[in-house]
Every structure is written in structure tokens, then in C-alpha cells.
Amino acid sequence: MMKRIEVRLALPVVAPLLDVIKEVADDLRENLAAPPDLADLESEFRDAWVAELLGGQNREVEALLALFDEEFFSEGIVAFDSDNAETIVRAAAAVRLQLRERHLKPLGDELLEGGDINVMTLEEKPRKAFMCYLFLATIQELIIQHLDKSILDA
């Protein structure tokens, strides 16, 4: 039987973060979250390589955005199972990387990695970005904790 986890989210907390996630998702349509160093590949092969990565990244991010559908706005629930676990955990990684690139770099990598940041001291934009960053990390942790076998066996 397929393992499935449902997570009830606090709508008033999560809904305002979705605009930030969508904004970052727009960035990711044409940019890789972790731009690769492919300097020693022939240019045509490099272009094909990047296009393939970008196509995969776009599919992942679309799947992440699709979690926040009508059901989410009426019930506040998102669901993960073996069908979407890998896609969502990867999409969350891409969006978190881009959140850092776009909004969180001024915080410094050491602080970001340690996570010891008082959100109340941040301006609205980086505060929302950091909340998204934590929210997506929580989703990743939940998936890895409960569905890692599904991902490894897929």
C-alpha cells in the first residue's frame, strides 16, 4: 500500500508566503538554481546539458506550486506520497537555493547555514523569504523522514 502523509498547514501563515515562492519560481524558469560549471564541455553539448537540467527543474517547480491548489486553500492540507516525494523534495531544494540568491545573501552564509536568525529583526521582504526558506526545509525534512524509502526504491 502506498505510503502517504498529509500535512495540515496554517493558512494565514503559509498563504502570504506563496507569492514569494511564485516569484522565485518565475526566476527558475530560465535559470538553474545551482548553475553548473561546464566550462570544459563542447558548447553544443553544454547547451543540451543545461536545457535538460532546466526542463527537469521546471517540471519539479510546477509540481511544487500545484500542491497549493483549491483543496489547499479550502482545507489547508498538502499531501505527499511515493509519486511526488522526490519531485517535491528536489523542487524545494531549487527554490531554497534561489531564495538565497535573490533575497538572503546579505544575511551571510554562516548565519544562513546555522539558522540562528531572529526573523523579527528582518525587513518584510527578507523576512518572508526566510520564512519560505524554513517552510520548504520543513517540507523536505518531513518527506525525507517519512518517504525516504519510496525515493530510494523508486
Binding site: A34, P36, E44, F45, A93, R96, I151
Partner: protein
């Protein structure tokens, strides 16, 4: 595409299809990329650049979770928990970890798969070989 254990990503397919499209030859071992317009000397240089042992190196980033990196290493390389954690800690503490070494084509495929997982992975020629 979804990478599967025992089969790395699409870089091998990408290289093959790119080479076929460009009319280039694909040799088995060592990998040789050539084009009929190239002079033999250039062929030799390309062959020398691609042969030997290549390393797949993962570099640290301040974003990806430790548990995520462990999962990726287990998934992509089939590492057990202990090995995956050891490699992840190398990345975290030393800034890099060599996670695989071998033929260029296979190394490219691993780098591609790691990049699909949004890790910072690079290819390095193993100068000790």
C-alpha cells in the same frame, strides 16, 4: 527525469545523441570525440584530454540540508547510511568531497545526476593517474 539507482542520469544519453547529431564518432574506451573536419592532431589532443581517471567532486553550499545530501548520495551512488553521512560531512567540513572516480563518460553522468538534485558537482581530472 527520475534518476534510478544503478543507472545515472541522462548525460551519457545526451552526449551520445549530441555526437550522433553532429556526425561525430563515439568510441567505447577511452572516449574519443572527433569530427571528420578536424585534423588528426586535434583528435589526439581531444583524446588525451578525455582519457584517464576523472573525479566527481561535490562542493559545499550553505543551503541544502545535511539530510537531503545524505539522501542524494544514497540514491545516486547506492551508498549505505554511514558512507553517505561520511561524504556529506566531508562536503560540509572540508568544502568538498570526491564521491566517485573513473571513466569520463560515467563521471559526466554522475555529475549530471547530482546537478539534477541541485547539488554543486564538478568534474576534475585525476592528476595522480
Amino acid at each position: 527525469m527520475v534518476p534510478q539507482r544503478g543507472r545515472v542520469g541522462r548525460a551519457e544519453d545526451l552526449r551520445e545523441s549530441h555526437l550522433q547529431a553532429s556526425g561525430a564518432r563515439v568510441h567505447s574506451l577511452p572516449v574519443v570525440i572527433s569530427n571528420s573536419k578536424l585534423q588528426p592532431a586535434e583528435d589526439v589532443r581531444t583524446e588525451l584530454a578525455l582519457e584517464g581517471r576523472w573525479l566527481v567532486v561535490v562542493l559545499n553550499d550553505p543551503v541544502n540540508l545535511m539530510s537531503y545530501v545524505v539522501l542524494v548520495f544514497k540514491k545516486v551512488f547506492g551508498f549505505d547510511e554511514q558512507t553517505a553521512r561520511q561524504r556529506m560531512l566531508e562536503v560540509h567540513e572540508q568544502g568538498r568531497s570526491v564521491v566517485w572516480g573513473g571513466l569520463r563518460e560515467k563521471a559526466e553522468a554522475y555529475v549530471f545526476t547530482l546537478q539534477q538534485w541541485h547539488l554543486t558537482a564538478i568534474l576534475e581530472h585525476d592528476e595522480t593517474h
